[in-house]
Symmetry: D3
Subunit: 161 residues, 6 copies
Amino acid sequence: MAEGGGREIDSLNNYYDDLAIGDRITSRGRTITETDLVVFSGLSGDYTQLHTDEEHAKAGPFGGRIAHGCLTLSIATGLEFQLFGTGEVRVLAFYGLDRVRFVKPVFIGDTIHVVVEVIALVDKDETRGVVTFHEEIRNQRDETVAVLDKRTLNKKRAYDA
Amino acid sequence: MAEGGGREIDSLNNYYDDLAIGDRITSRGRTITETDLVVFSGLSGDYTQLHTDEEHAKAGPFGGRIAHGCLTLSIATGLEFQLFGTGEVRVLAFYGLDRVRFVKPVFIGDTIHVVVEVIALVDKDETRGVVTFHEEIRNQRDETVAVLDKRTLNKKRAYDA
Amino acid sequence: MAEGGGREIDSLNNYYDDLAIGDRITSRGRTITETDLVVFSGLSGDYTQLHTDEEHAKAGPFGGRIAHGCLTLSIATGLEFQLFGTGEVRVLAFYGLDRVRFVKPVFIGDTIHVVVEVIALVDKDETRGVVTFHEEIRNQRDETVAVLDKRTLNKKRAYDA
Amino acid sequence: MAEGGGREIDSLNNYYDDLAIGDRITSRGRTITETDLVVFSGLSGDYTQLHTDEEHAKAGPFGGRIAHGCLTLSIATGLEFQLFGTGEVRVLAFYGLDRVRFVKPVFIGDTIHVVVEVIALVDKDETRGVVTFHEEIRNQRDETVAVLDKRTLNKKRAYDA
Amino acid sequence: MAEGGGREIDSLNNYYDDLAIGDRITSRGRTITETDLVVFSGLSGDYTQLHTDEEHAKAGPFGGRIAHGCLTLSIATGLEFQLFGTGEVRVLAFYGLDRVRFVKPVFIGDTIHVVVEVIALVDKDETRGVVTFHEEIRNQRDETVAVLDKRTLNKKRAYDA
Amino acid sequence: MAEGGGREIDSLNNYYDDLAIGDRITSRGRTITETDLVVFSGLSGDYTQLHTDEEHAKAGPFGGRIAHGCLTLSIATGLEFQLFGTGEVRVLAFYGLDRVRFVKPVFIGDTIHVVVEVIALVDKDETRGVVTFHEEIRNQRDETVAVLDKRTLNKKRAYDA
């Protein structure tokens, strides 16, 4: 993702018509705690030892427990939700994810934030369009820990007119 | 995913060498409860009204609150974890997800299970190989609610020999 | 709180200088679930039967379990947090609450939202001022269930200049 | 457990010297919610379908999901904790449980309470004694759902003198 | 609140007739954990960085994450609940809170307790009276972290006669 | 429990006919976290200071907070659940527990696992039999922290034939 060129936007709650390729927004941060790992293990039912057994994890390649991939993805959705501010949400549907890659481990105590950039805009009909966002989830050292592309169906201004 | 042809395997905790394209396994089921939506909203921080505001959701396209996409994915990881049974896990790394699609809403009270099929096997080196699984998350009427491809790095038997 | 007269603002993340008495904002809604009561009982340790024992509560004045007062207050803080959108928060301190009154019970299944109005603005120094908000927590029938006044210390524009 | 004969005591926070065989106390009630089952499944990691899969459970002998045995035991400990009131706890150690039996299923929506009776008192030394309690966990129809004997080490008055 | 003069009572579950101005009771303590902050953020939906982002908080005025004001209030209600011991609760209604002030931050690892004092008694009718309690929430160094006044409607003995 | 002699089995999901006295299986491990203590206190309602008040606990016999006995038992049930792998569960009923003893404290940060051994097999009828398991819950130093006997009703092969 090119660092330059894009316009900094101040909300993710946009009409399709108001977005341009290269638009970018950065979320606030959130610290990943041991509690998040424990609650996520319970909610998901995924008790893999890499996430739940410190003795086992400390003998493994990362030297300690790391966050589940889906926990990192889930917390990123919450950080993005904060960017929706007030008012009726202009996203009509969440189609899916592509090219989700976990590129570095997230440890207990890391603080992650999300950088979101518009990479594609495809007209659907008179009132709606499909937006593709590229997202980078980064830690407190600004290292990318995960990337993904997300496609949503957004209202055009005509939808609410 | 073709229903026929594949071999039914009885565990997801496999060496790379023991898997063949078309191998399939089906998880047990789990009911998605209102609690799951509430806890996931809190854990992720995603309070989108479609998941948290019954009045709003009942006036929307689905007629009620539905599960967050990432909640469905997360619970699927737990259902798969049950298929790992006993012993040291033979998966060394979780690379990522591709073509994740949310094809039907998951409502409070729906019961989901996962059907996993091996769709690609790529040698990495003498002790490891990359497995691609196609997964279908289905509800109690056996309707597919989400699909995805997942790639993991698995041990070969030589790894532990 | 007079319904007319005030300016509708679109964020709670304001500099002191940008606020005027009568400014108002309305949050999104959130449904109070049985899960919220159970999790709050556990988190607070307040297991009063009115909130935890359906048999006891159904024989009482409300005919069923109702939300703890502090649960309603707590969820209101989260609904307000959504109104802070993006960027560095301009509130420096949360001083306290006055005249908190629980005027109607909140039942499982009720959906609450918050109406916030600026009722006092007091200069503190060159970079900060004290804002008093009157808040009404309302249910899905727009009945007020709780009211309170909240005082915060907000930055002036000079603070960040 | 004989219904008659015993003295009704008003606290479980007793010195060994102040207890007599036959002393009894009854806890307040608490409704077992779906949330309790979901949170307990996550905390324990026990996702047995009888507790988590409504479709599966409704085809089984109980016609629906039931509480995990250890969830019922755990909630009973909290109901007993309420009986400790104020002040320093006079129980020094929790030795164990005997003859724990689950005699009837606990369904979502059932409201349980605990009836505790002193059945044995054994001197340990000058400052401590061992108390055995027989406990019956009962539902809203006063049917016993579980029974157990619990042994604790309690202070004598001399301990704090 | 004067330290001397008041009568030490041993329960908060009192008839109006049995209370006198100056009556005091002190709760047990409870340690505020990172888990409490994380679970409260999720339950309330208040993800303000001061409570959830260690990197951000450590650069701020407190040098680290602190408990949400409403979390401290909520945990205080649970500590008071422990003081209700056994038997039917003699509080009929919780009217509200006045002069709630957060006077010192509560950090992860602090242990808080509550000192409650009766400061006003107002007759309502033949069977009920209004009690005002002044509460101080204190940490392990006996420093007051928050204060508030709480008004409840209590039964008189005549109510249950 | 004799360390030698028994057959190592690879699943707890057995028909009665397939078990022999002395059969043994060892679970994976799980680290007991502060989160587990906090969530269990909330779920059970047992806020005994030994589990929730670090200041109090550090002045006591163990020098710090320890896990509730029922938390240890509950987590053991989840570790055993992992040993059930795939397929329909062959346990028809959980009768109860005997001789449950808490022999060493479990501290925050300890990692426990369970060793399960078949100690009795009693025929019930043509399709079912009663199995008694002796269980040792051990920490990361392989010290036994709790023991118990558990009786379940298992299917015979004839049940599913």
